[in-house]
Every structure is written in C-alpha cells, then in structure tokens.
Amino acid sequence: MKGLLKGIVAAIGLCLTFGGCESEDCMLTSSSYCSMSFVNGEGISVQLADTISVNIHLEGYDSLFAYLCDTDTVVSSIPIDSLPAKGYRQETYTYRKTGTLINRKTGARNMELPLSYTAEEDTFYIIYSQRLSDTLYVKHTNLPYFTSMDCGTVMHYKLTEVNATNHLIDSVQIVAPEVTNSLKENVKIYFTVSD
C-alpha cells in the first residue's frame, strides 16, 4: 500500500508538472501553397534544364476612355455624363499589373504557387528560357480556416480542376486536392522533355 501511495503522489507531481508546461504549437507557415512537382512521362521526378518563370495578372483597376464616334481619338477633357448626347462613345478598360511569383529559377524540380483568396480560377503564365511558354489554369474552392486563437486563420483550398497548354507540358494531374499550410504534393506536371 505504501508503494501505491508513493505512486499516486508521484502521479500528482507529474500531473502538476506537465499541466504547467502546456503550450500551443503553431505551424511554421501560415500560408497555403499549391505544391506542384515536375515529372517525366513515366512519373519520375525531373529537373528542368530551362530556367522557369511564373507570372500572374493581378487584380486590375478600371479606366474609362471617351472617343469621338467612329474614330480612335481619345477625348478625355469632356465631362463623361454629357458624352453620349454629343456623339461620343465611351469604353472601359481594365488594366492588370503583372506579378512575378518565380523569376528565372534554374534546375527546378517543383514549385509552390499561391492561390487566390477570392477567385475560383487562377491563371499562371509559365515562361521558359527558350522563349516558350505554357499557361496553367487552376480551379479551386476557397476555405477560410480558423486554426486557433493563437495561431490565427489560414486559407485552405480544394482543387477541382487543373489544365495546361501543351508546349512543354504534356499533361497535369491532381494527386491531392486539399491545399493546406502543411506542404505536400498536390499536382504532378508531366513534361514532354526531361533533363
């Protein structure tokens, strides 16, 4: 019985010790990236001989232009409200800024791409060194996620469809549709050329 009592006392001590040491561990990264690996036709990892850049078109801003009817002459000094009555036409253009996600990376075997929080289809322009390019279309649903009070929020995604043009890319395949901040391979990109 004495041994048992000692055991209980020890258990209480351990209980109090561990109880005072609890803390919350947050993930090192609070952003989710779609991880894409480069493979050859047999599904084996390849290292690209070309450099690779990835650009996107960011959210744009709208500009209104006024033209003389049947001409390309821009009339910018005339109040817009009075234009239709005076034989002018007006058109709106959306200007988009290009953002570079990857800039001439050499020897790439994979890439991690950020997806949009608000759009459900993102377009990535992949540019190779030999002036070739491919375009990658990624459709996804967005899932704002509460991790904890200390670790905050993070955006999760679910991939629904991935397509690409076929200049150097042969095909693309979703291998894990859930995109979270724990990095794992989501997409395989099959290239027609290998190292």
Binding site: M1, I8, I12, L14, F18, G19, T118, F146, M149, T153
Partner: protein, 246 residues
C-alpha cells in the same frame, strides 16, 4: 507523459488485482450466510456491510475560481456519487462550460456555452481503513454537444489582392473524451468533506466544422489531444443505514 500514463495503469491494475488475493483469505475466515454477505466476503470486507453505504453530492470550485482569477474559461459542475461498500463509488458529473474570449494579437473572437456530462466511478484504495478520508483512483467517459461562434478580421490576400470576411456563427460540434484521475477526500466537519482530483484527459473524438476546429470544448478545456486538469470538490456526504455483523 507515457510514464505517467503507465503509472496510472499500474495503480489501477494493483487495485483491480487485490480482490483476487482477498478472495483466498475470505474462504478461511468467513462463512457464506446470504447473498449480501457473500458479496462482502468476495470483496474482502472484514465487516458485513450493506452494499449501499451512502450518497454524496459535490460541487467543483476550480472552474469558478479560475474564471475569477482571469481565465478565459468558466465552468461549474456538480456531481452525484454513490458509496458502494465504502470501496466503489459510481458517479455522474454534470457541468456547464463557457468562454467568450478575444485574442489581442490575432483579434480573433471565440464564443461558446454548453453543458457537459461525465459518468464513471472512483475506487477507494484505502477501503480497509475505517476513516472518513481516503485516496482514490477513477475513470470517466465524458461527452458534450455544443455550438460555437468564431470571427475575426477580414483575410487579406497578400499576393492576388482582395479580402474576404471571416465570420462563422452556430458551428455545430461535439466531443467525446475519457479521464483518468487520482484524488483525495478529507472530512472537514461532520458530513462536509473536501477533496482534490487530478485528471489526465484524453480526447477520443471531436467534430470539426468546415472552416474551423473548436478552440474550447466545454468540460474538456482548450482543444488538444491530451490535457491535465484538477478539481477542488466540496462534498456533502449523506450516510445510508449501516449494519455490522461481525
């Protein structure tokens, strides 16, 4: 942590093993008189007792005390315990847990309030000693069904631009967990007792929402795989009729 679990398991095994030893001793010393005394003999009691020895009601003071000291979590719970042969104590615990907290750094806000239930038993490891205080080990299975609200600042896309609101209300969840505990009871005055219990909680299952995992689970505490906790119980003991046939 595994050493601690092992220690508790050994304690439970030791207490579970003791009736087998007692049974051998009983065959030499006590005759079989009736069903009740047989049970008492099997359980190695030196006195023949009514199975039903008493009932206790108790409340925990740690939950309200922690909230008063600034904890984000408030809980209050009461329990009904039955004393069987001064050795086994089946118990039902009913509580209410609540939080309404905002993190100053992340500006996230989480709110929930719900009841929780536990059922289990304690085992008096000093059942041979005739005194009001004792040391016990115990186990519980616990469950709660609750809804929670979580909201915070809009999420701003650092790459593509744009932002989306973060506001979810009435997220349904439930949780199931088990608790292993050790504790002490001591008499304060007549029928009034007090006691501590130290608990190791193991989460068995929790239902996550589509956009969140619950941060606080009523009765369990902050959501985690395991957790340590303590209760400080004020106990009112109502004795039952007791026979002595020695």
């Amino acid at each position: 942590m595994s050493r601690y679990t092992l220690l508790l398991a050994i304690s439970l095994l030791m207490t579970a093993w003791s009736p087998a030893i007692g049974q051998q001793r009983r065959q030499r010393t006590l005759p079989a008189e009736d069903q009740r005394s047989k049970l008492a003999q099997i359980l190695d009691l030196t006195d023949t007792l009514d199975v039903m020895q008493g009932v206790s009601v108790m409340v925990d003071a740690v939950g309200p005390g922690a909230a008063a000291l600034g904890s984000d979590f408030f809980s209050i719970e009461a329990a009904l315990e039955v004393n069987l042969l001064n050795r086994f104590y089946p118990i039902i615990e009913v509580g209410y847990g609540r939080t309404d907290a905002t993190n100053e750094d992340s500006e996230l806000h989480y709110k929930t309030a719900a009841p929780y239930f536990r059922i289990g038993a304690n085992y008096n490891v000093q059942y041979k000693k005739k005194r009001p205080g004792y040391i016990f080990v115990g186990a519980r299975i616990a469950y709660t069904n609750f809804k929670y609200d979580v909201d915070g600042p809009s999420m701003t896309d650092p790459v593509w631009g744009g932002e989306i609101p973060f506001h979810f209300t009435g997220v349904k969840s439930n949780a199931l967990w088990t608790e292993l505990l050790v504790g002490v009871r001591a008499q304060i005055y007549k029928q009034l007792h007090m006691g501590w219990s130290f608990r190791y909680k193991v989460r068995l299952n929790v239902k996550d929402g589509d956009n969140s995992s619950p941060w606080y689970i009523p009765g369990f505490g902050a959501n985690d795989n395991t957790k340590f906790a303590a209760t400080y119980d004020l106990v009112y003991y109502i004795p039952w009729k007791m026979k002595s046939k020695k």
